[in-house]
Amino acid sequence: MSNNNYFSGLFSGIKSLLVGLGVTMKEFFTRKITEQYPENRKELKMFDRFRGRLVMPHNENNEHKCIGCGLCQMACPNGSITVTTEMLDTEDGKKKRSLVKYEYDLGCCMFCELCITACPQGAIEFCTDFENAVFDRAKLVQQLNKPGSKVAEKKVAPKPEAAPAEKKESNPETPTTV
């Protein structure tokens, strides 16, 4: 190494270090970008497309839209959804499927939205709640239909964004593997 190199290398090196120091010093005085959770819980709002956990919306009469067809269960890649149904006799003597229990394992869910796209009724959706940590594994298996709830009687048109256009209005009597 020539002497020239030795000194020019030294000075350019020192200069580069000083430039770096300048950058960090500037940053030292800029406003910090930290968002303070949980202090900001009141203001904190997730993006509405954020997938926090699966819910089944109920209306004020404790009614949901799930007819227990089990398409979501079939669509789920790793079995996070278990739909239990029973056959009931309706007034006009026909058999009708009715939802007993809609179990959803949050600890297994991969948030792929296949269940929601598969649902012909728009009965399930993702909410933006993210505070889900628990102490007990069993608590992650949630029952989505509230106790005593029943399916909404009136045929509700599926919500446009929840059920994609190409899904035909599927027949509730379609036999499923449930």
Binding site: I33, T34, E35, P38, N78, G79, L106, M110, N132
Partner: protein, 195 residues
């Protein structure tokens, strides 16, 4: 039975925490034998120290690890809780955040890491993979939940959980640490995994 100790977390009301039933049960178990006043005070002090100084082990196998990095980074800044001192040596860490899929090949390694940690040690299963195998439950090479090999204190679901969920999970863990007894049974605990 009256709950003797109930952890307070700054800026987060007790009632708004999830899974308070399990928590109350846990508190009752820990307080079943009772304790005298001085010991309780000392316990409170030590628990306060421990709960505010949970140094995580840098352990990440997949996607959740990236989110963990995001939690450590400027926007979410886990340092606010005092947890930013991530230790690379299991001997010096207090909590192992199992973030990511644990395969059957990795399982003995994880167990060894857990064994290498000094008591008191805590485990947080982060994300679907660590809780139950998540997206890969049906795979031949994936452990279906780390609670099969090591005891888990807190489960943080998500795939991957967003940074706030991480912080929420850490606060749940803080609550758990805050009710432990140093002068009781739990210091040198050798918790057994389920099954």
């Amino acid at each position: 039975m009256e709950v003797k100790k109930r952890a307070k977390i700054k800026s987060f009301p007790y009632e708004e925490f999830k899974d308070n039933e399990t928590y109350e049960k846990l508190v009752q178990e820990l307080n079943a034998n009772g304790a005298n006043v001085i010991v309780t005070q000392l316990d409170n002090l030590i628990d306060w120290g421990r709960s505010n100084s949970l140094w995580p082990l840098t352990f990440a196998t997949s996607c959740c690890g990236i989110e963990f990095m995001a939690v450590c980074a400027a926007r979410y800044d886990i340092a606010r809780f005092g947890f930013e001192v991530t230790r690379n040596s299991p001997r010096q860490a207090d909590v192992i955040l199992v973030s990511g899929t644990i395969t059957t090949k990795m399982a003995p390694v994880l167990k060894r890491l857990y064994d290498q940690m000094a008591d008191p040690k805590y485990v947080v299963a982060v994300g679907g993979c660590a809780i139950s195998g998540g997206p890969f439950t049906k795979s031949y090479h994936v452990l279906k939940g780390v609670d099969k090999i090591i005891p888990v204190d807190v489960y943080v679901p998500g795939c991957p959980p967003r940074p706030e969920s991480f912080l929420y999970g850490m606060m749940q863990l803080q609550r758990k640490v805050k009710v432990e007894q140093f002068f009781g049974t739990t210091n040198k605990k050798q918790k057994e995994p389920k099954e």
